[in-house]
Amino acid sequence: MVLEENDPGPGISVLLPGHPRLANDESDQVFHTGAILAIIDNTAGWCIRDHPDYVEGTSMATLDLRVDFLRRISLTQTLRVRAECEAINDNVAFVRATAEDAESGLVVAAGLATFMLGTPSGLEPKIGPV
């Protein structure tokens, strides 16, 4: 899984090329829904660090994650996951993410997640803007 550094859009995007260890079933050779869910969770967490209100070093924990699987995608393809943090309020981060076929751009899965942000690691508790 690699971060796309030249991604123009808001939020971040990562690429995950197909691999046999991501397989749903030997017969269909498509990405496993669990693998798509895991990379959406991961990318959703990462994109929070891209938000201007994120305080560097703050820990985060997924509160909930819902994913709709719109279509299947072959393991010969590469998955692109885009995630954007829409807001951070009262230590809760709200994220939207989509997974698409990197070649065709067709949406494969759509996710919605919230994360609880903890106190920044380190000795001094940091107070945010009031």
Binding site: P20, R21, L22, A23, N24, D25, E26, S27, H32, T33, G34, A35, L37, A38, I39, I40, D41, N42, G45, S59, A61, T62, L63, D64, L65, R66, V67, D68, F69, R72, S121
Partner: protein
């Protein structure tokens, strides 16, 4: 006999084990199956490369979501004795507690099974079944006869 969808000679456990064997991702996670009473349970062995937060340390939320997906799917296969795997339409995961780097167990209940779709609830726990670390509800499309 001769029905590819309901094969009387096959048990739910055989179907679930075969699906698990054929799923490269579930194999990569080293998910195993066991039977407790009339319930199918999944087990995810702890592994360093499944840690999402190295400071706590805690298992990766995405991996726990994957385990809920696999648990719900295999419970459905087990109860309905499905020869072909069901297809996940959507899943909604609630994370309740930190997943520590311990063995994680999963079990699921088929809430409703219709002709085309099924609703399943799954939960995960570690040392105490009464203290779930994550729960999920999932909708599956069932394999259709003759497909």
């Amino acid at each position: 006999m001769g029905d590819a969808f309901f094969n009387e000679a096959e048990t739910g456990l055989m179907c679930a084990e075969r699906h698990l064997e054929r799923a490269g991702y579930a194999r990569f996670l080293e998910i195993r199956l066991m039977i407790e009473g009339d319930q199918l349970q999944t087990v995810l062995p702890p592994r360093e490369d499944l840690i999402g937060n190295v400071n706590l340390p805690a298992l990766h939320g995405g991996v726990l979501g994957s385990l809920l997906d696999v648990t719900a799917s295999l419970a459905l296969v087990y109860h309905a004795v499905l020869t072909n795997p069901p297809r996940l339409v959507n899943i909604d995961v609630d994370y309740l507690r930190t997943g520590r780097v311990l063995q994680t167990f999963g079990a699921a209940e088929v809430v409703r099974m219709g002709r085309r779709a099924a609703n399943v609830r799954a939960r995960l726990w570690q040392d105490d079944p009464e203290r779930p670390i994550a729960v999920a509800r999932a909708q599956f499309l069932l394999p259709q006869r003759g497909v």
